[in-house]
Amino acid sequence: MYDDAILQSVVVACPDCDLLNQVPELVPGDSAFCIRCNATLARNPKDGLERGLALTCTAAILFVVANVFPFLSFGMDGLVTHTTLVTGIVGLYNQGMVFVAAVVAVTIVIVPTLVLVGLMYLLFPLRSGRCLPGSELVIRWIIRMYAWNMVEVFMIGIVVAAVKLHTMAVLIPGLAAWSFMLLIFVFAWLSISVDVRVLWSRLEAAR
C-alpha cells in the first residue's frame, strides 16, 4: 500500500540552508529534518492520501457552511442584523475600501476555495493511481497560495469583534462561527497530513 518513492532514501537540499541531506526511508508517521538547521525536509503522513482527502472534504463542507450561514447576529434596541462573510466584504466595498475588501475576499474566500478544490482535484484521482491534466500546475499553485489562507486568523477576529461589541448589543454566534472554529483545527491537521513530496512521487508514479 505504501509504495511511494518517498519511502526510498533520497538526497535533498535543505530549503532553508541548502545543506545536502540524505533523507532515509520514512515509515508512515515519520518526518525527516535537516541535520544543520532542523527544517522539515519530508514527511510521510499516516494513512497515505486517505487522511488528507478525508480532511479536505471535511474542510470543504465546513467552509461552505461558514460562507453561507450568518456568523454573528447582532441585536440592538429591537433591530437585528444577521451577518455573513459576504455582507462584510460588500460593506467595505460600498464604503470605498476596495483594496481592503479585495484582500479580505482573497484571504478568506478565494484562496481557501482554490486550495480545497485543488486538493480534491489532485487527491481523488491519485487515490486510485490516476492523475488529471494540469496536476503539476495545481500543486505548484497550492504551494504558492497556502500562506494566504487566513481562515484561522479570521476566527480570532470574530472573537475579538464579539468581545468588543458585547457591551453595546446582544450577540448570538451563528452556525458559521462554529464552522470557522472547527476549520482552524481541520486546516491545521490538513497541513500536516498532506506532504508535497508524497504528492509529487504519487503523481510521478501515476503518469
Binding site: 540552508c17 545543506l19 544543520r36 462584510g88 467595505l92 475600501m97 505548484r140 468588543k164 461589541l165
Partner: protein, 215 residues
C-alpha cells in the same frame, strides 16, 4: 565552490533544488541561473540557485512597509457614528480604550497583533538583510530560526483588519449606530501584505552561504 570544506550544499555541488518539488537538477556552474532558463524536469517550475534578486526585493518591500506603517498608525482605523456623533480611532487609541474599560485581554491581543508583530517583523528583516550584506557568519542557526518565526507570525497581524470587517458588517443600524473603516485600515492592510511579500522574497539560504565561504 570549495571542495576542501566538510559542508556539502546544493550550491557547492552545483545542484539546483526545485522550490516546489525538491528535485535536484545539475547545472553547469554554482552561480545563479537566469530566470526562466532552466525548468524542473518533474514539475516544470523555474529553477534558481537562490531567489531572484532576493536582497534587493526584500529591501524595496521592507522600506515600503516602513513608510506605510506611519500613516497606518496615525490615521484612524475605524469611524464610529452613533446618534449624530462621529468618533475616529487609531489602532493605539483602540488599545487604550480597551485598557481603560478593563478589557485587557483584548487590548493585549490587538497590541500584539497590530503593533508588536509588524514592528518585530520589520526589525528582524532589517537585521537579517544587514547581517547577510555584511557577510556575517555568526549565529546562522539563530537567524534561521527567527526568520521562520516571522514567516509564521506575519499573517496574524491581519486580525485587526478582520475585526474591522466584522464590525462594519454587523453595526449598520443607520443613525443609531454604524461603523466604517478608516483610512488607516488601508495602510495597515498594505503593511501586512507587503511585509508578507518581503519575508517571502528573502532567501534564508543566503544566511548560510557566508558560513561556507568562511570555512
Amino acid at each position: 565552490m570549495n571542495t576542501s570544506l566538510s559542508v556539502i550544499t546544493g550550491r557547492s555541488e552545483a545542484l539546483l533544488s526545485c522550490h516546489a518539488c525538491g528535485l535536484l537538477t545539475p547545472c553547469s556552474s554554482p552561480d545563479d541561473v537566469p530566470a526562466g532558463h532552466e525548468r524542473c524536469s518533474r514539475c516544470g517550475s523555474a529553477l534558481h540557485m537562490r531567489y531572484t534578486d532576493s536582497l534587493n526585493r526584500t529591501w524595496a518591500l521592507l522600506i515600503t512597509a516602513v513608510i506605510l506603517y506611519i500613516p497606518a498608525n496615525l490615521l484612524p482605523i475605524t469611524q464610529t457614528s452613533s446618534l449624530g456623533l462621529t468618533q475616529d480611532k487609531t489602532i493605539m487609541q483602540g488599545v487604550i480604550y480597551f485598557l481603560q474599560h478593563g478589557e485587557w485581554p483584548i487590548a493585549v491581543v490587538i497590541f500584539t497583533a497590530s503593533i508588536l508583530v509588524p514592528l518585530l517583523k520589520m526589525a528582524v528583516l532589517l537585521y537579517l538583510l544587514i547581517s547577510v550584506q555584511r557577510g556575517s557568519s555568526k549565529r546562522a542557526l539563530e537567524r534561521t530560526k527567527i526568520y521562520r518565526i516571522i514567516e509564521f507570525i506575519g499573517r496574524w497581524s491581519m486580525i485587526d483588519i478582520f475585526v474591522v470587517v466584522i464590525m462594519v458588517a454587523l453595526v449598520q443600524l443607520g443613525t443609531l449606530a454604524s461603523i466604517a473603516a478608516g483610512e488607516g485600515a488601508l495602510y495597515f492592510c498594505a503593511v501586512v501584505i507587503i511585509t508578507m511579500f518581503a519575508s517571502a522574497s528573502f532567501d534564508p539560504r543566503l544566511i548560510w552561504d557566508r558560513c561556507e565561504t568562511d570555512g
